[in-house]
Amino acid sequence: MDWGLLPVLAVMLPVLAMVLALPLGARGAERMTLAVLPIGLALAVGIAVVVQRTGAPIWHQLGHWAPPLGIAFRADGLSAAMLVTTAMVVAATAIFARAEFGTPPGAAERRQAFAFWPLLLAIWAGINLLLVANDLFTLYVGLELLTFAAMPLVCLDGSRATLEAALRYLMFALLGSVLYLLGVALIYGATGTLDIVLLSQRVTGQPAVVLAIAVMTAGLLAKTALLPLHLWLPPAHAGAPAAGSAILSALVIKGSFILVLRLWFGVMAGQPMPGAAQILAGLGAAAILLGSVAALGQARLKLLVAYSTVAQIGYLFLMFPLLAAVPEASEVAARAWTGGVVQAVSHAFAKAAMFLAAGIMAARFGHDRIADIGGAGRAMPVTLLTFGLAGLSLMGVPPSGGFAAKWLLLSAAIGAGQWWWALVILGGGLLTGGYVYRVLAAGLRAGEKSTMAPAPLAWSRDGVALGLALISVVLGFLPLAAFGLLQVGRLDLAP
């Protein structure tokens, strides 16, 4: 049985839906999105099952043209895990967003509703493409798909502040894209191929490739918002509507991060760059500490959650020096790799839940000033519980997905003899606890009920947010063997 079409369909389904959304209009697009969600989720789960069962990546050569002339799709364990994560988070936010961006029958099309659904589908398509495409230029098109879709999501409400945030984001993102493209040109010039698997065999440390990886990494870090290139993120992620913030923080920044992984441990497999990896992790550590401290000082809830994203991105980069320091096939390397990816997955669920919960609170209160959310614990206990559960995962309290990720990274750091990263992980956890506690304490205080809107927009919104938070916690109950999926198809393991 040839499963090769599964990744193709996983990409083309949201692309086709996005294209059709334009002539269908807001209401048609909404209904089509909801119809497409279960199919996309089934495709993602199918890919994960096949990869797990066969223990090998799924391949597909488009048009039967083999690389380097043609383009190949390749879904490995990392792709499978992130595909499922993406499908679930997209589905949750789509259900959540109906209350805000739905179009009742007979109602006239609204601008926000017209834009939201195709943008959501485009982000889904872009991330799926980034996960399965194996060609550096196809990946560039995926990056642009993400950038184009994320920018209007930031400024969907059309206020001056969000428009400025969107412009700042666009400038960072476009610079990041062209730097990436420059690297593509250099790599092709040096090797004559853009296929990642072929590159992992052909790259021998040519100067053009090293410079290319450097500029591409810089460009992708600007899109991932790793400190010090994070300045655009807090206003952009805090200004978007709640469903948009959830998608942006949970998924969009992961797209460019996965691409960094593909470059460092795919294209440059077997070419360790320990010095540069230490710098990346150093930036990551700075992001964890400074981002958490900034989150502690925020007066507004959505900005606090956005700064928490700046901090949590930092953890993703701790895996780089650990992987560079030990043999690829070692247990420590497997732990570092798994820890990094589980961090990406559990942060996706936890942060989506957190932004949705913050959005529900902001909608009820009509503001998101942390000092004035007293009474939330009584009026919306489920929402506050969601926030707390997601916070537990971000802190890394056992048993949760965040704990599994941080524990794996911590033990890998000690195994690799780089104990200083372990200190950063522990310190970051404490600071995270601080800002989560701040919100919970404020919410549990008694407050005036009169300032609140009488009823929530829809109960399903609370259910969806709580579901995401529970998943981020339940990930911690998975037996370690389940994470074996993530090792499938690691290019740095290839002989």
């Binding site: 294209v19 334009l22 380097p68 383009i71 943008l119 010039g189 090797t191 100067p207 410079l211």
Partner: protein, 309 residues
Amino acid sequence: MIADLLLAAAILAVAVASILARRTFTAVALFIAYGLLLSLAWVRLSAIDVALTEAAIGAGLSGVLLLGAVRRLASRAEAPANPPPGAAMTVLIGIACACVAAALGAVILLLPEPAPSLAPQVAANLPTTGLGNPVTGVLMSFRALDTLLESAVVLLAVICVWSLTPDGGWGGAPGAAQPILGDGPLLLLARILPPLGIVVAVHILWVGKDAPGGKFQAAAILAAMWLLPWMAGLVAPPRIAARWLRLTVAVGPVVFIAIGLAGAVTEGAFLAYPPGWAMPLILVIEIVLTASIAVALALLVIGPPVPEP
């Protein structure tokens, strides 16, 4: 060689002048010159297809877009921008950028000899597509996925631009109202040129299968032939709520995806063409895609609806 040196020097001079220009109008005018000179460089690099695209899109449509933006921003106070970097900082940035350029130049000089190339593979496989133009072969067969995704990106860009419609403008005709010209040279041009331009575009699309040309270049010319009467106030664009307008933009990518999926069913690979059917299918895709991209490019230049104040 001397001609190349002069050309390169001219391009660099125009680029430097453009970023140092005091007035945005001057900068954009220089940028258009930059695009035109660049298309000469593309000819010198034996990339005629790219030269045509650069002239039509890089200089032409981008120029119209930026000039329009300059005009609409001219009547407004400039946004309170961030303060410009200080002299020391500017020098520092300059040195850093020079280092980037120098490193890049050094790496280019160090590229391997003989250069790795896919030209032989393209030449060997081109006959299966029935095409004569290798670039069209790459775009429509070997790397057809990129072209498909790119047409989706252009459609997405239209959605994004429309999503920036100010309150009260949703559903209306896109773009700022153009001044009504009773008479004048632009009006004359807008009347004479479109029929000619359409003939040229069809020609470029048709020859694209064997010679330089193809859908992007043809679509850019067609878009220009719509923009010209629009700027002259001769035609008003249709409302963005118009179903047929949205269908036109979407039909190209939809047909492309449908043919790709048909290949997955019959040939077992997405975007595989059945033997002997490659050329007619590619022609169908090219024609439909030209229409969609032409409308999309024009809509991107025209911009979102602007409600009357």
